[in-house]
């Protein structure tokens, strides 16, 4: 008798704690997820339906129409900022930014870690001071300089100023320093010079780090808002994220706001970086938590 009463009590205590854990996690997950589901739902219904009933628990049949509207019609005057065009621009920004950062960062980090350089300390401070001031606080003069250099409404002007911070350099410097000393020594005895060592050994060795950095930088570049808002006034140069403001203004002005199209565009702006982060989750988390420490 005593045994049969004992066992259920122990079981129950364990279970309640777990139920609580799961409940909190499910609530948290809902807090994150519900807004997205709402956007998803409204992309499947007509604008009238959305305006009349708000988001509902039904999946409509307008996904295709809304998708076409989002991708191929343009808002604004020039008719150039179709979803497709903005998607392409976002891709160029995301990929260009990530590649630029990685290439420049790896080169600089390699020079700092693997060479005896007289002014290395000075170069180090020059580069790492840039970590201190985000672009937002020097946005106006940056704009003026981009203007003076004729970089407004160009991809160069969009990407280069964003690269002017040392996050990737810092990250690769940390990583290179953790590479065992003996590797470069063995390579030197094996007759590899600085260029050969970099290409034959260091770059292949950094593969995972490069991937992690690429994911983080792609998301970071894709999500830029303030700088693209300032440097691109030409609608053909808009990125999806840059275009969001125009979307909100479109929704304001008209009697039947195009929620289907707008929400579809928002969804297209969300999905690529989100998918990248989800698919390459472990690399992404590794890169993020190791770079900032």
């Amino acid at each position: 008798m005593t045994e049969t009463t004992h066992i259920p009590v122990a079981k129950r205590r364990l279970k309640w704690g777990r139920v609580l854990d799961h409940s909190i996690l499910i609530l948290g997950a809902q807090f994150m997820l519900v807004p997205l589901l709402m956007v998803l739902q409204t992309t499947t219904t007509t604008d009238l339906e959305t305006i009349r009933n708000g988001p509902e628990f039904i999946i409509g049949d307008q996904l295709d129409d809304n998708f076409r509207a989002a991708m191929f019609t343009a808002s604004g005057f020039s008719g150039e900022n179709t979803g497709l065009r903005m998607l392409a621009n976002s891709m160029i920004l995301g990929i260009g930014f990530a590649l630029g950062k990685i290439v420049i960062g790896m080169m600089a980090a390699y020079a700092l870690v693997y060479f005896r350089l007289r002014f290395a300390t000075f170069a180090f401070w020059l580069i790492f001071t840039t970590l201190l001031l985000p672009l937002e606080v020097r946005i106006l003069p940056s704009y003026e300089i981009a203007q003076r250099l004729g970089l407004l409404n160009t991809y160069t002007g969009l990407i280069l100023p964003l690269i002017a911070s040392a996050t990737a350099t810092f990250f690769f410097r940390q990583f290179f320093r953790s590479v065992p000393e003996e590797l470069v020594e063995a390579a030197r005895i094996d007759g590899a010079g600085p260029v050969k060592f970099f290409i034959d050994i260091l770059v292949p060795l950094s593969q995972t780090m490069i991937a992690a950095m690429f994911i983080i930088m792609f998301v970071f570049g894709w999500n830029q808002y303030l700088w693209p808002t300032m440097v691109t006034t030409d609608e053909g140069m808009y990125t999806l994220v840059r275009g969001i403001k125009q979307l909100t203004q479109d929704l304001e002005g008209t009697s039947i706001p195009e929620y289907g199209r707008a929400n579809m565009l928002a969804l297209i702006a969300i999905l690529p970086p989100v998918l990248v982060v989800i698919i390459f989750q472990s690399w992404f988390v590794k890169g993020l938590t190791e770079s900032d420490k």
Binding site: P180, E182, L183, E185, A186, A187, R188, I189, D190, G191, A192, K196, D200, I201, P204, L205, Q207
Partner: protein, 345 residues
């Protein structure tokens, strides 16, 4: 094959620290020299200067009659085995072994032949297509050896190559490395802090301390005739017993016991190896056993002579427990050191 000559080699770091005080010695062709000493004694720095991985501050280094002070590591005709092996993690065993040859622009089929030969010698043939992460510690060690062997160098450099292995494997690899070196007849410099490795592998041992040479000699010389108290206490496990003694009236006194006759006057340090002691009821020196350490093959008695720590090595069948016994020291095994300088008298 080559002889190596170090002439007043010195290393001073930019911050003024003198890691290696001027050191000179010659290594004959095919000789296996072990540099041994505690960490920070400059042994690795010295090896790295020979390899060309550190600049030589002063002095001249020649390998096979050629001064190589300013020669690039790749051109010194050396091979080096590192403590952590320094295998290229993204390359297969085959590529790891062949990388140095590839950089020398040797034809691919020649590389393959040499890699195969080295792999066969080291029992790595079945592992050529694996990456280092798929190998055991001992196998990685062999790959590192293979990378050295395949270059057919004039000089092998070993930087504590066995310290990452467990005790059993270390013992096995010790024998393998020595056998390989004998077979190839390549001049070798081997750095270790493990005195057992030094004793078992070396043709000649160089004991370093504080950036300078304490003693150069064969393992037997180093063990039995240490040149200083440092060498006496560093080589051998358990180390040589060192006890404070006084010399007067032609005798060496420990407390009020005369243990030897010598004309030295004043304080000296007396060194006795634990195995150079005999025990028996009729012996003249009282010894107090504190602890009996069982080692299977033999036993160690830890205790005191005249209030000073002392260890005695006895056979496995000597049954004893803590308490007073008596011992005697083989007179020819006693070594006297200057109490101040620590140098042998």
């Amino acid at each position: 094959m080559a002889q190596v000559s170090l002439n007043k080699i010195r290393k001073v770091y930019p911050n003024g620290f003198e890691a290696v005080k001027p050191i000179s010695f010659d290594i004959t062709d095919g000789e296996f020299v072990v540099l041994v000493g505690p960490s920070g004694c400059g042994k690795s720095t010295l090896l790295r200067m020979v390899a060309g991985l550190e600049d030589i501050s002063e002095g001249a280094l020649s390998i096979g009659d050629r001064n190589v002070n300013h020669v690039d590591p790749a051109d010194r005709d050396i091979a080096m085995v590192f403590q952590n092996y320094a295998l290229y993690p993204h390359m297969t065993v085959r590529k790891n072994i062949g990388y140095g040859l590839k950089n020398r622009k040797i034809a691919a089929h020649d590389i393959e032949a040499k890699v195969q030969a080295a792999a066969k010698m080291l029992n790595l043939t079945d592992y050529l297509d694996r990456k280092p992460s798929q190998l055991s510690g001992g196998q990685r060690q062999r790959v590192a050896m293979g990378r050295a062997v395949v270059r057919d160098p004039a000089l092998f450099l070993f930087d504590e190559p066995l310290s990452n292995l467990d005790a059993k494997l270390r013992h096995q690899m010790r024998i393998e490395i020595k056998a390989l070196q004998r077979r190839l007849g390549v001049t070798s410099i081997y750095v270790t802090h493990d005195q057992v490795e030094a004793m078992t592998m070396a043709d000649r041992i160089i004991v370093l301390n504080n950036g300078q040479i304490e003693q150069i000699g064969t393992p037997a010389e180093i063990y039995h005739r240490p040149a200083s108290t440092f060498v006496a206490s560093f080589m051998g496990a358990p180390p040589m017993n060192l006890i404070a003694a006084q010399g007067h009236d032609g005798r060496i006194m420990v407390g009020d016991m005369a243990l030897a006759s010598n004309n030295i006057i004043g304080p000296v340090t007396m060194g006795i190896r634990p195995e150079d002691v005999e025990i028996g009821p009729d012996c003249e020196i009282p010894f107090t056993v504190d602890i009996v350490e069982e080692l299977g093959a033999h036993r160690l008695l830890h205790g005191q002579v005249d209030g000073q720590d002392f260890t005695i090595h006895v056979a496995k069948d000597v049954a004893l427990s803590a308490g007073p016994i008596r011992m005697t020291i083989k007179p020819e095994a006693m070594i006297l050191f200057d109490a101040q300088t620590g140098l042998a008298l």
